[in-house]
Amino acid sequence: MIVASPKSITELKNLIAGHKKVLFVGCGTCVTVCLAGGEREVGIASYAVRMARRLANEPIELTQQTIERQCENEFIKDLAEAAADADAIVSFGCGVGVQTIAERFPDKPVYAGLNTQFMGTLEEQAVWTEKCLGCGDCMLAQFGGICPVTRCAKRLLNGPCGGSTETHCEVDEDRPCAWQLIYTRLKNIDQLDRLDEIVPAKDWSTSWHSGARRVVRKEHRV
């Protein structure tokens, strides 16, 4: 899922300074699961902003609505009525949601209520870690299902660096060494011979580095 974290109350307050009718939009998918931008979190943020604005003697008319997914126009259309009535919109979705809503309502200011972090997994209650960089050319099969492109700080493709301890990364001593994990995993599934293959330099042309990418699937086009 996409993992995001909330902006501070002060940041939220500053974002909407000057706007009198504001719509807070939650997203019912990734950011609900990561406890950042779902219906409850939007409700709590609304309380905080209402209090802050009342203290500043700047009345605000604040409405809240949470839709299933902010990254799909199909769901965004449910916002049309509430958006028409608002001076500005604060999206509590990921950066994708913010931009999709902004495209859908070109005459409204749309602000981001969250800081989008990464694609990751829930390790334990309220702890998430990054697992995928979205490089566009998945190499997981070669590495026993553990991605050195994302999880090795140096993105090494042919074994660990000299700085790692037996189990942990030298860049962050709390982070497991991806190459130690890869070795253990390949050993467990009896595929250690994969490490004999030299992995050539990665082709980054499929990644973000030449700008925003686009996927077209002809078989599903209508």
């Binding site: 109350i9 500053n14 009342r54 009345p59």
Partner: protein, 164 residues
């Protein structure tokens, strides 16, 4: 901390216009867990122990059942202070409801400080059902704290926004 949320500005807001009203009395909500604080309050009554009438008790099944929205809504509506009273740590009937309540109250205290309402207006205490004197003392302390702070800065302001 932004300029409008400096301690001096916060203090000014917390001792706003209503502070000058000599008839003002703090309005305080005490969320009391069924298994400890509510029983302790009941015991205090049975023992004829006196405590201020500023407190309105809300009977809850466990402090873990108190959502952040309940507390924030009360502050938005102008309550002067909130006391959350739960079981001793390790003594929760539902194992860890009071520990969760502690994390939530700590988070709301941070929010109240950032907003400028003042974190002292929210307090959590832990006690057992037998501790009527502790309950009475906690109420006295809360009332005294809030009385010193003055009325909530969210009280007596124009309520122009929607309930949304």
């Amino acid at each position: 901390m932004t300029p409008e949320m400096t301690p001096s500005a916060t203090t000014t807001m917390m001792t706003g216009s209503a502070a000058a009203d000599p008839a003002w009395e703090p309005e305080i909500i005490a969320f009391c867990c069924n298994y400890c604080a509510y029983a302790a309050a009941d015991l205090a009554g049975s023992k004829r122990m006196q405590y201020p009438t500023n407190v309105r008790i809300i009977h809850t099944p466990c402090t873990g059942k108190i959502e952040m929205e309940h507390i924030l809504d009360a502050f938005l509506k102008g309550i002067d202070g909130i006391l959350v009273a739960g079981c001793l740590e390790g003594g929760c009937h539902f194992l860890e409801g009071n520990l969760r309540a502690r994390k939530r109250t700590d988070r709301i205290r941070e929010m109240l400080a950032e907003i400028g309402v003042g974190q002292e207006r929210l307090r959590m205490v832990n006690l057992s059902a037998a501790e009527a004197p502790t309950f009475v003392r906690s109420v006295h302390e809360m009332v005294n704290t809030v009385r010193a702070l003055g009325p909530s800065p969210l009280k007596d302001t124009q309520h122009l926004e929607s309930e949304g």
